[in-house]
């Protein structure tokens, strides 16, 4: 998708590309702060992408597709969470199971109902509506960077703010972070910390489903492995962003910018495409090294 009509197409595209990172990232942040490393983000994105497009085609409605897609993904996240938390299964093993299940289940359903394990393209429902937020229009020069995105992109920004508020400004957020910092302290107060962890996983299912839907509903099609590692990058984004919503916003933008740049660079820079496509991952490594170096320096000072 090249939006050549915009003044900074690379940045404009980056805003679209960052949305799945951002959504999966803030969902993963909630589980992270509740004291669990959620490596199932990738699988949950894939499930969200698949089910929202399937349900949209069944119902013929974009909205219902999105709704049922999100609910189904949250339900699978709930089962994953219940097995992990209440049946005390290892969180890594169950998360790997979710990731494997996502690829397997989507292929099976796809083959059974549509006769193919390949791409599923639908045209009986509308694409994600594109909005122009009037308030952003008035920003000079860079204003149009924020225009012409689909509804989930804007929802993502809203969610960052909502999550920041819930996590840091409400009693619920205080308790959820408390669970992550000291599980025993919360159970000593009778506050049922397991409940908070389960809810955190279901919340990550919600945001990952949106992340997935933003990929598939935008093109009205499901492509196997459409998430293509975004859930893993989202994990990196959480740590790079210093485990804060604002940090995740910045980190996912940097990644998206790298990806958007490499998309454009293929067209006019005479370097092997493989190298350009690897650019986002090189950024990952460099960023991780930088962040850990900065942290070490800060520790030295204190």
């Amino acid at each position: 998708m090249s939006n050549t009509g915009f003044s900074f197409p690379v940045i404009h595209d980056a805003i679209d590309i960052m949305t799945p990172f951002l959504l999966a990232g803030i969902g993963g942040l909630v589980t992270e702060l509740s004291g669990m490393l959620n490596i199932a983000l990738e699988g949950l994105i894939l499930l969200g992408a698949f089910f929202s497009v399937i349900f949209a085609s069944i119902t013929g409605s974009l909205f219902l597709g999105l709704l049922f897609g999100v609910i189904t993904t949250m339900f699978i996240a709930f089962i994953f969470g219940a097995i992990t938390i209440y049946l005390k299964a290892n969180e890594f093993i169950t998360a790997i199971a979710v990731n494997l299940l996502a690829t397997g289940l989507t292929a099976v359903i796809s083959f059974h109902f549509f006769g193919t394990k390949g791409n599923l393209v639908f045209d009986n429902f509308a694409r994600l509506p594109v909005f122009d937020l009037p308030a952003l229009d008035s920003i000079p020069i860079i204003g149009d960077i924020f225009l012409g995105h689909n509804i989930i992109v804007y929802a993502g920004w809203l969610l960052v703010f909502v999550f920041w508020f819930v996590l840091y400004k409400t009693p619920y957020g205080l308790r959820l972070r408390g669970v992550g910092l000291n599980f025993k302290a919360m159970s000593a107060l009778g506050l049922n910390p397991k409940k908070y962890r389960l809810e955190a996983i279901v919340i990550s299912g919600f945001t990952c489903a949106l992340a997935g839907a933003s990929l598939s509903l935008n093109i009205g099609a499901y492509v196997p492995n459409i998430s293509s590692g975004r859930g893993w990058i989202a994990l990196v984004v959480i740590y790079l962003g210093g485990r804060t919503p604002l940090g995740i916003l910045i980190a996912s933008f940097i990644f998206a910018l790298a990806e958007s740049f490499s998309n454009y660079a293929q067209g006019f820079i005479n370097i092997p495409a493989d190298f350009i496509l690897a650019f986002p991952y090189i950024i990952t490594v460099v960023a991780l090294v930088l962040v850990s170096a900065i942290k070490k320096r800060q520790q030295k000072i204190s």
Binding site: K169, L174, L181, N182, A185, M186, A188, G190
Partner: protein, 514 residues
């Protein structure tokens, strides 16, 4: 006086191992008293209190608060019945402020959703001031001392309107000074109409603090007394079930050659100016016990690490049995003659996942290797069975060490370390967390080791232990030796306490330079 709490016929058997921990226990606590709940480790006192606080559910029995029958199934319902508990290991969130920790679960709100931090701090401050505590509501827990953290735990319960406070082993982590402050505060609290139950096995504190006491042994109540009517030896007889010597009997042994020598030892952390161990020099001779005392955080654990061969020193020399072993590491230390009983029994002293047999042969395993390279298990069995007998360990060679009681784990470590002594034994916090009977046994062994002619070093934050056992005492404060003295009959624990707190210093640098 009015009855505040009555527990009737409480029974609890754990289904996992079929062990009965509470047998028809009755406990009556009067309003406005400090009631001590006493017993050896495993006597069932913590279980009883966890039942009262709703953490454990009893098989049968009834609980009455102010004459009214209550059903307590979680800490929340306990809080609602006016019961608050301060656990031995604090349940605080380090990254949160005092106020946030206190209000957690009962947060004041601003509007429907918003957490009102300002009101939280104000409310918590008023609880703090009303009850004579000294805390800043907006301070982070990680910046507080252990004593202050305990205050936060108490304030947390008072904020929840607790009238009956349960404190589980509240003094085990405190310094002498902090213990005094805690006792003053608790006495003030009961004057305002609160009731306190304190779980402990420290007899001195029971006498100092409590009005009445209930003693548990093997899950049963064996005595209820007014504290004023009993003396320490009777309490300990009730707890253990037989007469125990609270003070080990000292033995005079001939002092022989030196076994350990530290010369100007300095230990610095990287990029840190102030040394953790500052110019330590001392000697220990065979046939004597040297006690080294300090408050936690003043270099005691670093000294333990140093003597155990676990850290490298920045400068200075360390000699064992005349051999310079500076920075040579634990293996060389041991070959030079060191036996070492570490303070951390579970992480450093033993491998809790391994069997008792494996733990016992650990330092001697080369003796049990057959020519084929495998371990001669029958010889190892025989060897460990012999030591299990000698040290009265309540276990089989194949028992998993982690399932043993603290006292028995310590005996497993002792049996390994004392099986072969080559002149020097270092004990670090030898009785920390152990009950009276186990402590008595450990003290007997330490005296035995000395009378057999070895040099003994005891590193401990327990002054009583240091005074009761040592022939010589060294006190450290912020990494320096501040006092070195012969242990005579008239030595005063309070004076040693002053040295430990840094109020006194015999080696003050200023005077030395003049």
């Amino acid at each position: 006086m009015q009855t505040c709490l009555e527990m009737r016929n409480i029974c609890k058997t754990y289904s996992i191992n079929g062990r009965t921990v509470n047998k028809n226990v009755d406990l009556t606590v009067r309003k406005g008293e400090i009631h001590a709940l006493l017993g050896e480790n495993g006597a069932g006192k913590t279980t009883l209190m966890n039942i009262l606080y709703g953490i454990i559910h009893p098989d049968s029995g009834e609980i009455f608060i102010n004459g009214k029958k209550v059903f307590i199934d979680s800490p929340l319902t306990a809080n609602r019945s006016g019961i608050g508990m301060v656990h031995q290991h604090f349940r605080l969130i380090d990254d949160f402020t005092v106020a946030q920790n206190v209000v957690l679960g009962m947060e004041p709100r601003h509007g429907l959703f918003k957490f009102d931090n300002t009101k939280a701090e104000k409310d918590v401050l008023s609880v703090i001031n009303k009850n004579g505590f000294k805390l800043e509501p907006n301070a982070k827990i990680s910046d507080l001392s252990v004593g202050q953290m305990q205050q936060v735990e108490i304030v947390k319960m008072l904020y929840r309107k607790a009238d009956l406070l349960i404190l589980d082993e509240p003094t085990s982590v405190l310094t002498e000074h902090e213990i005094q402050n805690l006792f003053i505060r608790l006495k003030k609290l009961v004057k305002t109409g609160k009731t306190v139950i304190i779980i402990t096995h420290k007899l001195k504190e029971v006498k100092r603090l409590s009005d009445r006491l209930t003693v548990l042994r093997s899950g049963k109540v064996v005595g209820v007394r007014n504290t004023a009517d009993v003396d320490e030896s009777e309490i300990s007889r009730l707890m253990v079930g037989r007469t125990v010597a609270l003070k080990p009997i000292k033995v005079e042994t001939e002092i022989k050659e030196e076994a350990l020598k530290l010369e100007n030892v300095v230990l610095k952390k990287r990029r840190q100016e102030r040394p953790i161990l500052d110019n330590l020099s001392f000697k220990v001779f065979k046939g004597e016990i040297l006690g080294i005392a300090a408050v936690a955080g003043n270099g005691l654990s670093e000294l333990e690490n140093l003597l155990g061969g676990m850290v490298r020193i920045t400068s200075g020399r360390l000699l064992i049995n005349g051999q310079d072993v500076t920075n040579e590491g634990a293996a060389v230390f041991r070959r030079a003659g060191l036996s070492y009983v570490p303070s951390d029994r579970l992480k450093r002293g033993s491998s809790i996942e391994s069997s008792v047999r494996e733990n016992i042969i650990l330092t001697n395993h080369h003796r049990f290797v057959k020519k084929t390279g495998e371990i001669d298990s029958s010889a190892a069995d025989e060897f460990s069975s012999k030591l299990i007998d000698n040290f009265n360990i309540d276990a089989d060679p194949s028992t998993r060490t982690g399932t043993l009681s603290g006292g028995n784990i310590q005996k497993v470590i002792l049996s390994r370390e004392l099986e072969h002594i080559d002149g020097l034994v270092v004990f670090a916090e030898p009785t920390w967390g152990l009950d009276i009977a186990s402590s008595e046994y450990i003290y007997k062994k330490i005296i035995e080791v000395k009378s057999e002619g070895a040099a003994v070093v005891i590193i401990s934050s327990n002054i009583e232990e240091i005074i009761n056992l040592s022939d010589r005492i060294i006190v450290m404060h912020s990494g320096e030796i501040v006092c070195e003295t012969k242990n005579t009959e008239d030595i005063d624990a309070a004076v040693i306490g002053d040295y430990m707190l840094g109020l006194k210093n015999d080696f003050s640098k200023v005077t030395n330079e003049r």
